[in-house]
Amino acid sequence: APVEETAAPEAAAPAEQAAAPTEAPAAEEAAPAAETPKVMGIVMPNATHGFTGESIKHAEAAAKELAAQYGFEYKFLTAGEASEQNNHIDTLLNEQVDVVVLWPMNGDELRSAAQKVMDAGIPLVIYDRLITDFTPTVEFMGDNVKIGEMTGEYFNNYFADEIAAGETINILEFKGDLSTVPTQRTDGFLSTASEQFNIVQSFTTDWQRAKAMEQMETFLNTSTDEEISSIQAIFTHDDEVVLGVLDAIAAYNGAAELNIRLISGVGARRENIDTFAPVKEQYGIDQVTYAFSPALIRQAVELGAEILNGGSPSGLILGETVEVDNSNGEEFRNHPIYITRYSLED
C-alpha cells in the first residue's frame, strides 16, 4: 500500500497548521451572537467490542477538546449497522453541518451517503474504511491488510529454519468476526506468509475472550494428541482473543505435549503486554502484536477540525502500525501511541 505520509499521532495535530484563532476557552459562551459556530458531524459505529468502545471514547474526547479550543460545535452519532449510519448522514445533511467525519461500518455501504455529503459541498473525512471508487476530501486509515502482511512476515522470520527445511508448520487461526476487517487481516496474512503454514482450523470469536477460550478448550479436548502437539503457532486478530487462548492453554491438563511457540495479536494493549514476560517464562511462548490504536481516530477528528479552521488536508493518510513483541514490549510503553491511548485515564 502506498503511504503518502506516515503520521505519528502527535505529528498531525492541527494546532500547528491552523491559523490559530483567539484562544476562546468555551466558544459557545464566547461568541454567542456574532456568528453561529461551525458544526462538525461525527458518525461512528456502536461500541460493540473493546476496540470500538475505546475508539468512541477517544473520538469524543478529541472532539470535545478541539471544540473547546477552536470554538466549534460537534454532533456525535453512533449506529449499529450501515443503514442507520446512512440515516445519520441524512440527519447531518438536514442540520447543514460544516464537516463530516465518518467511520463507516463498512465502506461501500456508505458510498451513497458519502456521495450525498460531497454533493452537498460538505467536506468529508473518512476513517479506516475504503470506499471503492470514491474519493472523499481526506481519508485516514489504519491498515488492516498491512497488519496481516506484517504478521505473515513475522511468522516467516520466526520459523525461518523450518521453512528452509521444507517442513509444514501447523497453526490455528482465531478470527475476529465475520466482517471485512478480519477478512482483510487474514488476506494480508495469507499474502505474505509462507505456503508451508498450514491452518489446521479457523475459529470465529466475535472478538470475545470467553468464546476464544471455549474454542481453544474444546480444540484441546477433542483433538488427538498428535494433532495438538503438531500446532506450533497461533494467528489471531485481536489481543483479547489472545488472552482467551492463553487462558485455555493455562488450564490445559491433558496428556499431549504443547509445542506452541508463537501467538500473534492485534492491539498492543497494556493487558497483553503485561503477559509477555510471564507467558514466555511459564509456557515458552513468544508473542507479537500490532499497535493498531483506538486512539488513531483522534487524527481523523483533528483533520475535521483542521478543515473547519480553513485548512485543506487531502489525500490518503495512513496510520502508523508498530510491531510489538518480547523484544520491545517494555520500550513500547514509552511510545506515543501507547501514551496517547492511556492518556484519558485518571
Partner: protein, 323 residues
C-alpha cells in the same frame, strides 16, 4: 333508550382511546423533540424522518401481522441480508432492476414461508424457529460472500441508487413507498378475511380452529407476507446502500421492528392492535434517534436513554388503555 345511548358513547370513547393510543405517544414524542430542538418540526425534517423510518418500517408492518397472530420473527434482519446480498448478484448479472425486485419479493416470501412451515408443520415455537433461521440465513450469505461485501456494479449504480435517493414532487420515494405499503397492509388486516383470521388466531387459537379457520394456513401466510415485505425492504436497502456487507447488513432489524410494534400499541400477546400503530411506531423509533442527537446525549448513554424512552412511550399508552 337514553341509557343505551350513553352506554354506546362510553364504549366508543374507550375504544377510541385504546385504538388510537399510539397517537398519544406520537404527539407526546413530537412535542418532546420539538422542545429539545425547535428546528425539529419542519417539513424537511419530518420527511427525512419518514424516509429514515421506511426500510425498517416496512419490516415492522410484517412484524405486526406476526405479533397480532401471536407469533414473532427474529430472522428478519438476517433475511434482509440474505435476500439483499443475492439480489445484488441478480442485479449485476441481469442488469434488470425489475427482475431484481421480483427476486427479492419471491425469495423473501419463500424464506418467510419456510419459517412458517417449520412453525406449523414442525410445531416449534416461532421464537425458536426464527432464532435458528436468524443464525442460518446470516451464515449462508456470509459464506456466499466469504465475509466480503456484495457491491452493485459501477455502471448500474448511479441510476439504481436513485430508487432510494430520489423523490416525487419533493416527497422522498422511500417515504412514499412506506406509506403505500402501510395502506395496503392496513386494508389487508382490517378489511379482509385474512386479516380477521390473523386477529382470531392471535387471540384464541382454539376458538379460531373450532370456527373452521385453517390456523396453520393463516400462520404460514403471515410468515410468508412478512418474508415478502422483508424482501421489499431488502430491495430498498440495497438501493440505499448500493453495497451489502453480509455479516452485518440488517443487523438487529428484528429488535427495532419489534420495539416499533410495541410502541405502536400492538399487544405482544396477540389479537390486538392496528397497522396504523406500527406505522407510527416505526416513525417514533426513528424519532428517538433524532432526540438522542438533538439532546446531545453522550454516545455511550444512547442505549440508556433509548431504553428509557421506549418504556416511557409504552407506559404513556398503557395509562390511556387502562383508564
Amino acid at each position: 333508550m337514553g341509557n343505551l345511548l350513553k352506554k354506546i358513547n362510553w364504549e366508543k370513547v374507550k375504544q377510541f382511546n385504546s385504538k388510537y393510543s399510539y397517537l398519544v405517544s406520537f404527539i407526546g414524542l413530537l412535542i418532546f423533540a420539538t422542545i429539545i430542538n425547535p428546528r425539529y418540526f419542519s417539513y424537511r425534517n419530518l420527511s427525512t424522518l419518514m424516509l429514515q423510518a421506511s426500510i425498517k418500517g416496512i419490516i415492522t408492518l410484517g412484524m405486526s401481522i406476526l405479533i397480532i397472530a401471536g407469533m414473532i420473527d427474529l430472522s428478519v434482519g438476517s433475511l434482509v441480508a440474505l435476500v439483499a446480498g443475492l439480489s445484488v448478484v441478480v442485479l449485476n448479472t441481469t442488469g434488470n432492476v425489475w427482475l431484481m425486485l421480483l427476486f427479492c419479493i419471491i425469495f423473501g416470501a419463500i424464506l418467510g414461508s419456510m419459517n412458517g412451515l417449520l412453525v406449523t408443520k414442525g410445531k416449534i415455537a416461532p421464537f425458536i424457529v426464527t432464532l435458528a433461521t436468524m443464525s442460518a440465513f446470516r451464515s449462508v450469505i456470509v459464506q456466499l460472500g466469504q465475509g466480503g461485501p456484495f457491491n452493485v456494479a459501477a455502471d448500474i449504480l448511479p441510476s439504481f441508487r436513485m430508487i432510494a435517493a430520489g423523490d416525487v414532487l419533493g416527497i422522498p420515494n422511500l417515504a412514499l413507498i412506506f406509506a403505500v405499503m402501510t395502506v395496503i397492509i392496513a386494508v389487508l388486516m382490517a378489511k379482509t378475511k385474512f386479516g380477521r383470521y390473523v386477529y382470531a388466531v392471535g387471540s384464541n387459537e382454539q376458538a379460531a380452529r373450532l370456527a373452521g379457520i385453517n390456523v396453520d394456513q393463516i400462520k404460514t401466510l403471515a410468515f410468508t407476507i412478512t418474508g415478502l415485505l422483508t424482501g421489499i425492504a431488502a430491495f430498498l436497502l440495497t438501493s440505499r446502500l448500493t453495497s451489502i456487507t453480509a455479516p452485518n447488513a440488517g443487523q438487529s432489524f428484528e429488535l427495532d421492528a419489534i420495539a416499533a410494534v410495541a410502541i405502536g400499541g400492538i399487544a405482544m400477546t396477540g389479537g390486538r392492535g392496528v397497522i396504523a400503530g406500527s406505522f407510527f411506531g416505526a416513525i417514533m423509533l426513528q424519532m428517538i434517534e433524532g432526540i438522542l442527537i438533538a439532546a446531545k446525549i453522550p454516545p455511550f448513554l444512547n442505549g440508556l436513554v433509548k431504553g428509557v424512552i421506549i418504556i416511557f412511550t409504552v407506559l404513556l399508552q398503557r395509562k390511556k388503555n387502562n383508564d
